[in-house]
């Protein structure tokens, strides 16, 4: 009979790393999404081109390839990252590119009359974006952001392949040490599912909160 308590502890340690990656990666992704998304609706052609290149590049190649590139190729350029840093960087940039399109779509979806009203009231571009457009665009973004956050959580499994000791990596360790495959993999599948469930629940809560003040503004 195998003593599972130690192994469960190992998997929980991995779960902590997975959580850490998800939170840090999401933070970077949100920053990138707003930066690149707003840059795509900029007036300057150069800024738009730069943002489009970033988005197309990161959406066009897979997270796996980006991660390996960051971890194995960047050191030759003199930038050596720990696996955690590489993971957060690759995940954040990748999901940020998807998020940028969401930001752009939501900002574009705000009606013309709102923009015209801003001009009529003599608001600066910054003011109208900050006080008129974004507060209305944010609730439109949240459902897709929720999906993106879950994609990011699922993406964290890939970092186990660059020897970061996340949940998937620990499950492999447990498999190697006990020879049992069913239990570790089932446990982490359930844990991943619970995490994604928590993400979707809390995003739904956030969505309700954000739309609270907007009753009657949109049909």
């Amino acid at each position: 009979m195998i003593d599972w308590s130690g192994y469960i502890g190992l998997i929980l340690q991995g779960a902590l790393v997975t959580l850490q990656l998800t939170v840090l990666g999401s933070a970077l992704a949100v920053v990138m999404a707003f930066t690149a998304g707003l840059a795509r609706v900029s007036r300057s052609f150069a800024v738009r081109a730069l943002a489009t290149t970033y988005i197309e590049f990161f959406r066009g190649t897979s997270i796996f390839v980006q991660l390996f590139w960051v971890y194995f190729v960047l050191p030759f350029a003199g930038i050596t990252l720990t696996p955690l840093q590489a993971g957060v960087l690759a995940l954040g940039l990748n999901v940020g590119a998807y998020g940028a399109e969401v930001v752009r779509g939501a900002v574009k979806a705000i009606g013309r009359e709102q923009r015209e009203a801003c001009i009529a009231l003599n608001l600066t571009r910054y003011q109208s974006m900050r006080h008129i457009i974004l507060p209305q665009a944010l609730p439109l973004m949240l459902p897709t952001f929720c999906n993106n956050a879950i994609e990011l959580l699922k993406g964290t499994a890939v970092v186990s392949l660059i020897s970061l000791t996340d949940m998937t990596f620990q499950a492999q360790v447990v498999r190697a040490q006990t020879g049992n495959t069913l239990i570790p993999f089932t446990v982490i599948l359930v844990l991943y599912f619970l995490m994604s469930w928590v993400i979707s629940r809390s995003m739904r809560w956030l969505e309700r909160r954000m739309t609270r003040g907007l009753d009657g503004v949109r049909g």
């Binding site: 197309e56 590049f57 959406r59 066009g60 190649t61 897979s62 997270i63 796996f64 390839v65 980006q66 390996f68 590139w69 194995f72 190729v73 030759f76 879950i150 959580l153 699922k154 993406g155 964290t156 499994a157 890939v158 186990s160 392949l161 998937t168 499950a171 492999q172 498999r175 495959t181 069913l182 993999f185 089932t186 982490i188 599948l189 991943y192 599912f193 994604s196 469930w197």
Partner: protein, 220 residues
């Protein structure tokens, strides 16, 4: 370390060999995803309630967990209960089932978007159930689905490098083994990135064309 073109040409045949497997896995995975997705969609739409519930939960579960872990599950756990699959087959099944849960939603939305009046008109003109599906519902439901399905095809193509984790010798795995045996990472890893970028840029153009072609049908 410098970029070395000689090394690039030297490793190109091996990488192209890997690309072939990548494409094969994508195509086979797409076929499985299309069939599995249809099955999920039909079960959720028309099976008795308890079964529809269970299928619904299963779909949510598969969508909420990483493909990599599912691949490990298929490749390492199933042999314990006597089902031993070659790596490529396990990979194709994993890809197919994972993306099947996404295509199921596309099918469901497509079928539910056909207006009720069409069903009622089919009944009023005394068409059988089979005729209703084949001649009324599906011809209207399928064209709007095509861009969405193509989108998932591209997404799946970009996920195929995960198959290298279960020892399928696709593009990524070939690049890794070249990198490990030559101690050169820059060229193989960058080339894999370039391959994927080129393929997905081509597919983006193709997708735009599909969207234009099939959204027009809807407006008619």
């Amino acid at each position: 370390m410098e970029w070395d073109w000689n090394f690039v040409w030297q490793i190109m045949p091996t990488l192209l060999e890997g690309l072939k497997i990548t494409l094969l896995a994508t195509v086979l995975g797409a076929v499985v995803a299309a069939v599995v997705g249809l099955l999920f969609a039909i079960l959720r739409l028309s099976a008795p309630k308890p079964i529809a519930r269970v299928v619904g939960f299963l779909v949510e579960f598969i969508r909420g967990t990483p493909l990599l872990v599912q691949l490990y599950f298929i490749f390492y756990v199933l042999p314990d209960i006597g089902i031993s699959l070659p790596a490529l087959v396990a990979g194709v099944i994993g890809l197919g089932i994972h993306y099947g849960t996404y295509t199921a939603e596309v099918y469901r939305a497509g079928i539910e978007n056909v207006p009720r009046g069409q069903w009622e008109a089919a009944r009023a003109t005394n068409l059988t159930l089979r005729q209703t599906w084949l001649h009324v519902i599906l011809p209207q439901a399928i064209p709007p689905m095509i861009p969405a399905l193509a989108n998932y095809l591209i997404a799946m193509f970009k996920e195929t490098p995960l198959l290298s984790a279960i020892t399928v010798l696709e593009l990524m795995n070939q690049a890794k083994s070249i990198a490990n045996s030559n101690y050169r990472y820059i060229e193989p890893m960058t080339l894999v990135g370039v391959f994927f970028l080129i393929m997905s840029l081509i597919s983006v153009v193709f997708l735009r064309w599909l969207e234009e072609r099939y959204s027009r049908v809807e407006e008619r």
